[in-house]
C-alpha cells in the first residue's frame, strides 16, 4: 500500500504498541540545550537511572550565551550556572557537548543539519519546540518537554500516540522577492496558529521542491507556529546533495548506499493524508506580522485589521488587545509602520543563505538614522566563518549593522540582546508573542530581505521594488 513519509517513519520506529495505549517509538537522535535539560538529568539522578545511549544525544549551548565578546566567563550568574551544569551533565553521562567556545557550536537547529547529525528517516527530538526544523530533511522531528527529555535519556524512546497527517501543497513558482519565510507565514495566516494541532504536516508541491534545504528548514521551523506536531518534506535530490560530505554521516556506507536508503523514505506517489490544504505560490506576497501571534499576519501591501470587520467576538478582542500591545491603530498600512530595531538571526533565518539575502539588500546602503540597533547574529560558528569568508560581515558593518557571535540572542532575549519597552523590531525570528524579545517590546516577523530593507528605510518596505546596489 502506498504510504506517506510519516507512516513509513512511524512504522520503522515502532518498538511496542498495545491497543488503547500510547506507542513506544525509538529515537535516533536527541539534541539537548542548557535551558530544558538540567531538570531531566537531575530527575535521572534522583531515580538512580543512567543515560541509555549517550552517543545518540548531542548537546549545544545557544539560548543563554552572550553574542558579544566570549573571552570572559558569562557575566550573568544564573546563565553561567546553566551552561556549566550542561557541561558537567554531559561529561558525567558521556554526551558530546558543543560548548560556547567549541568550533561546532551554534543554535541547535542550525548545527544538527549543518553537521549531518540530521538525516532522512530519523526520529529526532529535543526539548525545544522548533525541533520541527529538522523535518526539512524528511526526519520526524519534534519538540518535547523536560520530562520527555528525561524519558529519552533513560530509554532512548518516546511514548506517543500516532498523529493524523496533513498535506500542505504549495503549487506554482514563488514570485521574485518572496521567500520561504513568506510561504510559511502565509500558511499560518491561512490555517491559523492551531490549524495544525494534532497533525503531522508534510509540505509538498512545486514551490516546496524548488526551495533549497535552508529554505525548507525555515518552512519546517515554523510548523510549530501552526500548532502541528511536526513538519516534514520528503527527501529528494536537493536533500541528498546538501548532506554529502557532512561530518556526522554514517561512515560505514557509501554515498550511493546512503542515497538509496534516504530516498526510500519519500512519500509514495499515490499516498494519502487525513486532510490537505493547497496554496498557490504565485499569490504569496512578502509577509509582515502586525500582532502578537504569528497568525496575525498580512502582506506588505496590507493593513492592520479593522476591528468592526472581525465577526467572532473572541477573535475581535484578541485583535484589539494585540493592536493595543503593538501600539498600532486599526486599518494602518503596513508600509507606514516604522521600526527602531532590527534583528536578523534565530533558528528560522540565521543560515548562510539568509545572511546572503540580507546582505544583498544592505549592500551599499546605510542603516537608517532612526534605527537604534540592527543586529546580525549568525546561527553557528560555521555560518559565521562562511559569512566572513564571503565578506558579508563587512557589508553589514559598513551599512551600520552589528555583527555578533552565534546564538539565539534576541529571538527570545534570554541574554543581553533585549528589546526595551516600546521598541518596535523587524525580526527574522519565529515568535511575535508579547514580551518575547523583551518586556513591552513589539515584534514584527519578516524575511531576512525584508528585515534588512526595514533597517535601511526605517519602515516596512516592499522588497520587490528594492533598489539593489
Amino acid at each position: 500500500m502506498a504510504e506517506n513519509i510519516y507512516e513509513k517513519i512511524w512504522k520503522a520506529h515502532l518498538v511496542h504498541e498495545e491497543p488503547g495505549n500510547d506507542a513506544i517509538i525509538y529515537i535516533d537522535r536527541h539534541f539537548i540545550h542548557e535551558v530544558t535539560s538540567p531538570q531531566a538529568f537531575e530527575g535521572l539522578r534522583l531515580a538512580g537511572r543512567k543515560v541509555r545511549r549517550p552517543e545518540l544525544t548531542f548537546a549545544t549551548m545557544d539560548h543563554n550565551i552572550p553574542t558579544t565578546d566570549r573571552s570572559r566567563p558569562i557575566a550573568d550568574a544564573l546563565s553561567r550556572q546553566q551552561c556549566e551544569t550542561l557541561e558537567a551533565n554531559c561529561k558525567e553521562a558521556g554526551v558530546t557537548c558543543f560548548g560556547m567556545h567549541h568550533p561546532l557550536n551554534g543554535i541547535v537547529h542550525v548545527i544538527g543539519p549543518e553537521l549531518g547529525l540530521t538525516q532522512p528517516g530519523q526520529t529526532i527530538v529535543c526539548g525545544d519546540s522548533h525541533t520541527s526544523t529538522h523535518g526539512a530533511f524528511g526526519a520526524l522531528a519534534h519538540g518535547i518537554g523536560t520530562s520527555e527529555v528525561e524519558h529519552v535519556l533513560a530509554t532512548q524512546t518516546l511514548s506517543q500516540r500516532r498523529s493524523k497527517t496533513m498535506e500542505i501543497r504549495v503549487d506554482g513558482t514563488l514570485p521574485t522577492g518572496v521567500t520561504s519565510k513568506d510561504i510559511v507565514l502565509a500558511i499560518i495566516g491561512k490555517i491559523g496558529t492551531a490549524g495544525g494541532t494534532g497533525y503531522v504536516i508534510e509540505f509538498t508541491g512545486e514551490a516546496i521542491r524548488a526551495l533549497s534545504m535552508e529554505g525548507r528548514m525555515t518552512v519546517c521551523n515554523m510548523t510549530i507556529e501552526a500548532g502541528a506536531r511536526a513538519g516534514l518534506i520528503s527527501p529528494d535530490k536537493t536533500t541528498l546533495e546538501y548532506l554529502h560530505g557532512r561530518p556526522y554521516l554514517p561512515k560505514d556506507k557509501s554515498d550511493e548506499e546512503l542515497d538509496r536508503e534516504w530516498a526510500a523514505w519519500a512519500s509514495d506517489p499515490d499516498c494519502s493524508y487525513d486532510t490537505s490544504v493547497i496554496l498557490d505560490a504565485a499569490s504569496i506576497e512578502p509577509q509582515v506580522t502586525w500582532g502578537t501571534s504569528p497568525g496575525m499576519v498580512t502582506s506588505i501591501k496590507g493593513r492592520t485589521p479593522v476591528l468592526a470587520e472581525i465577526a467572532d467576538a473572541n477573535e475581535r478582542r484578541s485583535a484589539q488587545s494585540a493592536l493595543e500591545y503593538m501600539g498600532l491603530g486599526e486599518g494602518v498600512p503596513i508600509t507606514e509602520v516604522r521600526v527602531n530595531k532590527v534583528f536578523i538571526g534565530s533558528c528560522t533565518n540565521s543560515r548562510i543563505e539568509d545572511l546572503r539575502e540580507a546582505a544583498k539588500v544592505a549592500r551599499g546602503h546605510k542603516v537608517n538614522v532612526t534605527i537604534d540597533q540592527a543586529l546580525v547574529v549568525p546561527g553557528s560558528h560555521k555560518v559565521k566563518e562562511q559569512a566572513e569568508a564571503e565578506g558579508l560581515d563587512a557589508v553589514f558593518r559598513e551599512a551600520g549593522f552589528e555583527w555578533r557571535e552565534p546564538g539565539c540572542s534576541m529571538c527570545l532575549a534570554m541574554n543581553d540582546d533585549v528589546l526595551s519597552p516600546g521598541d518596535r523590531c523587524a525580526s527574522t525570528s519565529n515568535r511575535n508573542f508579547e514580551g518575547r524579545q523583551g518586556k513591552g517590546g513589539r515584534t514584527h516577523l519578516v524575511s531576512p530581505a525584508m528585515a534588512s530593507a526595514a533597517a535601511v528605510t526605517g519602515r516596512f518596505t516592499d522588497i520587490r521594488s528594492w533598489h539593489f546596489k
Binding site: 531538570q39 546563565s79 532512548q156 514580551g435
Partner: protein
Amino acid sequence: MNKTTQLTGIVAPLDALNVDTDQIIPKQFLKRIERTGYGRYLFFDWRFKDDGKTPDPDFEMNAARYRDASILLAKENFGCGSSREHAPWALDDYGFRAVLAPSFADIFFNNCINNSIVPVVLPEATIERLFAEVRATEGYRLDIDLPAQTLTTPSGEKIEFTLDSFLRERLINGWDQIGLTLRHEDKITAYEQARGV
C-alpha cells in the same frame, strides 16, 4: 507523579485566546536549574505592573475572589509556543491542578499530564457558559471526577468530558512514564539489536 482522582476547587478565568508559554512564564525565569519555585513567576508580565512587584488590578485573576483558585478556565489553543515545561511547573507551583479549555497545544498538553495537571477539553460553548457562571458567582467551585470524567457545577449540574483512557489511567495511578516504558526494556533492546542501532 501524584495520584489524581477527584479535584475540587475555585475556578479562575483567563480570558485570552492563544495563551502562549511565554506568557505563562516569561523567559527571564527559565535560567534556574530546579523544577520547583516557579509559581511566583506565573503570568508574570500580566500579573504585575512594570515594577514587577505591584499586582495589576486589570488582570482578572488578581481579584481576591480568585486567590485560592486551583482550576484555571482558559480559551482556545492554551499553552501554544515554546515546549518549556516550566509552564506547567509554574501552574502547579501556583496551585493549579486542572486547566479547562476548548483546545490545548500538543506539547503543553503532554507536559501537563507529566506533571499531574489535568487538562480538560470542553466544547467552546460550554467554556463560554462557564466563564459567565464563574464571573457571576463569587466562590464558584467545580468538582472534577477523573474516573467518571465529569465536572460538577455548584448547581449540581454534571458536565461530561473525555480524556484518553491511557492518560487518564496515568493520572489516576500517578504512573511515571519512564517506569511504564521500562517495563518493555527487553523490546527496546531487541529493537536496537535488530536495527543495529
